[in-house]
């Protein structure tokens, strides 16, 4: 998922496994996955299955699958059945449950029987540190890549960073790399216009974090001179996933302007609450991404649509499935960014939502 293969690889190496990373995702990955998947399962399932087939073809014999708060928690077993029916022979580690090392020690023992708790703990901590470094740098790139003077400057530094991070094997090196590259990124000349657009991205975690699956939506936005913010990262998930998870949820619900009263499942609550908070912070708009048919996000959309209507706050909804085209996405992003710019230039203009509201109010009056 995204560049998170780097910390996962570190984790596996520290635990003395040989790792076969699936080849970089291509359209073929998705085709392979979609061919053998249930018809209307959500798109991450299809990508995952494609990754597995490609990795197994490359010689992997143990597959890793995680779990989550929606049907994602059930991916592993079904994928295993499909792959076995295809004739593959392999072992599967299904990481379900919490984010603590203790929860998973048994799973790791399956892979490496000589493993000790201490060793697993250290490996986990190191991988976590690497993830945090990765997220910090990528966050900076997201916010600033849209304003680079020399095209491709950010991407070049980013690539170099990934290369070095991949080989880092102790905390001090990771820290040093993070610091050095953040400084290097800060030194890249940028030109920030006065009327820059700030857009937040919310939604389902897989399509948010895997750029290939969201058709590189962040890069596309950067090309249109947008400062992009995103809050769903693995570091944040670990931070909020532990014992404080339920307190974090309560916080989100409290800060959602009464658009949610109960947890909506998986990332749904966060999508609504973050959108509400971003609106109050003065963001220009929000992009809501999800795989087609993702139930927690569909729950969230009901709230988001009402929020958008009542506060005249632009939210663009994008659903991804195996057929989503890049051209369609680009056109929608163009229109969305143009619309946001126009709103900025003429803040008092009447929007469609305003007209709607007036019409609704009139209907209400008549009904009384």
């Amino acid at each position: 998922m995204g560049n998170y293969s780097i910390p996962v690889k570190l984790l596996a190496e520290e635990l003395e496994c040989e790792i076969v990373s699936p080849p970089k995702m291509t359209k073929r990955t998705l085709e392979l996955g979609a061919r053998h998947s249930p018809e209307f399962v959500c798109i991450p399932f299809k990508y995952n299955l494609g990754n597995y087939i490609e990795a197994l073809d490359k010689g992997a014999n143990v597959l890793l699958q995680a779990g989550g708060g929606c049907r994602f928690g059930y991916y592993g077993e079904v994928q295993e059945a499909i792959l076995r029916d295809l004739g593959y022979d392999f072992g599967m580690v299904r990481l379900l449950g919490g984010w603590k090392v203790r929860d998973h020690i048994a799973d790791f023992k399956l892979v490496n029987p000589r493993l000790t708790l201490l060793r697993a703990f250290n490996a986990y901590r190191l991988a976590l540190r690497q993830t945090q470094a990765l997220d910090a740098v990528e966050d900076y790139v997201r916010r600033n890549a849209g304003f680079e003077v020399e095209e491709g400057a950010f991407e070049e530094v980013h690539e170099a960073f990934l290369g070095e991070l991949d080989t880092a094997r102790d905390r001090r090196t990771i820290q040093e790399i993070e610091k050095r590259y953040l400084a290097e990124l800060a030194a890249i000349p940028t030109e920030r216009p006065d009327d820059l657009l700030r857009i937040g991205i919310v939604g389902e975690l897989y399509v948010l974090m895997e750029p290939f699956s969201n058709l590189f939506v962040e890069k596309e936005l950067a090309k249109r001179g947008v400062e992009v913010h995103r809050f769903v990262t693995v570091s944040n998930m670990v931070k909020h996933g532990g014992a404080k998870g339920s307190a974090h949820l309560d916080d989100l619900i409290k800060n959602s302007g009464d658009y949610v009263r109960y947890h909506l499942g998986a990332d749904g609550t966060e999508s609504v609450s973050m959108t509400y908070q971003l609106m109050q912070k003065g963001f220009d708009g929000v992009l809501h991404l999800k795989p087609f048919g993702c139930m927690p996000e569909v729950n969230a959309m009901a709230a988001l649509q009402r929020l958008s209507r009542e506060h005249t706050f632009p939210v663009l909804f994008i659903s991804y499935d195996a057929q989503t085209s890049e051209t369609g996405l680009r056109t929608r992003l163009d229109a969305f960014c143009d619309m946001l710019r126009m709103r900025k230039q003429r803040p008092n203009a009447i929007s469609v939502a305003d007209v709607d509201r007036v019409r609704l109010a009139e209907a209400d009056r008549r009904a009384v």
């Binding site: 059930y74 658009y259 729950n299």
Partner: protein
């Protein structure tokens, strides 16, 4: 009146004394005939009857309700939730409150489908101004059915003991109803003739627009329909493990339990799935791979269903079963 609305927006129990003017005009509670209604209607109806609260149930699903639901819902919502919104909307002017329970976890380590977590908030946001009653069952957070439903009851009856007694009586009636259903299931299985197991959630099987036409059509064609009802939840869980170890959804476990326990006693299996159901998309895939040897088909229902297409598929499925049976009889190998 506004005290009422405020109560509904908070979660504190309002003393019945503050109801004031509502005493002479008894409130009516609307029960949308969708989703959990098909599982819990006996419990709800008896509970409110014991309390002396009038209930009104929305009519069986029809085209108008579905059309209204589609209008209110986000496009990608699954059909049952679209129907729920249609039913809630149909009750808007007829009832003072509409009951939408929120079921999260019924047992540790399990969960209900995400739509049951969100349907309260979804309805609230899709139909602004609607007055809802809700109760949450979330065992992992310490929310149980009895105190939660009693909290709902407390809005109508100030005597707490009376509320609790109403719940206990309702829950007894509910349990008896469940036992009756199980017995009926056994008699259906004992009958001779071609038997087909229809695996689907209660809210699909018994819905006038979704499962009912299929069940009726099968019956008309001389097929004994066995629904995937399984009321012994503990046993269902045990049986479900034979097909799937990881499945997290309680209601799907019941379906798997029914499938595992009946599949050797029926001649064919129909998986009834609504588009785009998350849990069923995965569960059905696994079932079709593990249930081999019994003829099975998967029917995916959506809001654009044409009856003719469905009937053709059902007819050919029945033909297939009959042909298979005859072949077995002719070869003299009935086992």
């Amino acid at each position: 009146m506004w005290a009422w609305v405020n109560y509904l927006h908070g979660r504190t129990v309002m003393p019945a004394a503050e109801q004031g003017g509502n005493e002479d005009m008894p409130a009516t509670v609307g029960l949308p005939r969708s989703l959990l209604f098909h599982k819990y209607h006996v419990l709800w109806e008896s509970f409110f009857r014991e309390l002396g609260v009038q209930t009104i149930t929305s009519p069986p699903s029809n085209r108008a309700i579905l059309a209204r639901g589609i209008e209110l819902a986000v496009d990608e919502t699954c059909v049952p939730v679209k129907l729920l919104l249609g039913h809630v909307d149909a009750l808007r002017d007829k009832a003072d409150y509409v009951l939408i329970p929120r079921i999260v976890t019924l047992a540790r380590g399990e969960t209900a489908c995400v739509k049951f977590l969100g349907s309260y908030d979804v309805a609230r946001n899709a139909i602004p101004g609607i007055r809802l009653l809700e109760y949450s069952v979330d065992v992992e957070k310490g929310l149980y059915e009895r105190p939660e439903l009693c909290r709902v009851g407390a809005t109508f009856e100030r005597n707490r003991r009376k509320v609790r007694r109403a719940y206990d009586e309702a829950s007894r009636i509910h349990a008896r109803h469940m036992r009756d259903l199980s017995e009926r299931q056994e008699t259906a299985l004992a009958r001779p003739g071609i038997k087909v197991l229809v695996v689907g959630h209660a809210y699909n099987l018994y819905d006038e627009m979704l499962g009912k036409p299929i069940v009726d059509f099968l019956g008309k064609n001389g097929v004994e329909v066995v629904c995937s009802e399984f009321h012994d939840t503990a046993k269902a869980r045990k049986l479900a493990r034979r097909i799937s170890q990881d499945i997290p959804w309680t209601f799907n476990k019941e379906l798997l339990g029914a499938l595992e326990s009946y599949r050797h006693r029926v001649d064919g299996i129909i998986f009834l799935v609504t588009f785009p159901c998350g849990p069923d998309s995965l569960m059905t895939e696994l079932c079709m791979r593990s249930v081999k040897g019994t003829p099975s088909i998967m029917l995916v229902l959506d809001e654009l269903q044409s009856e003719a297409g469905l009937q053709t598929r059902l007819e050919s499925f029945i033909d297939l079963i009959v042909a298979g049976k005859q072949r077995m009889l002719m070869s003299g190998d009935a086992s």
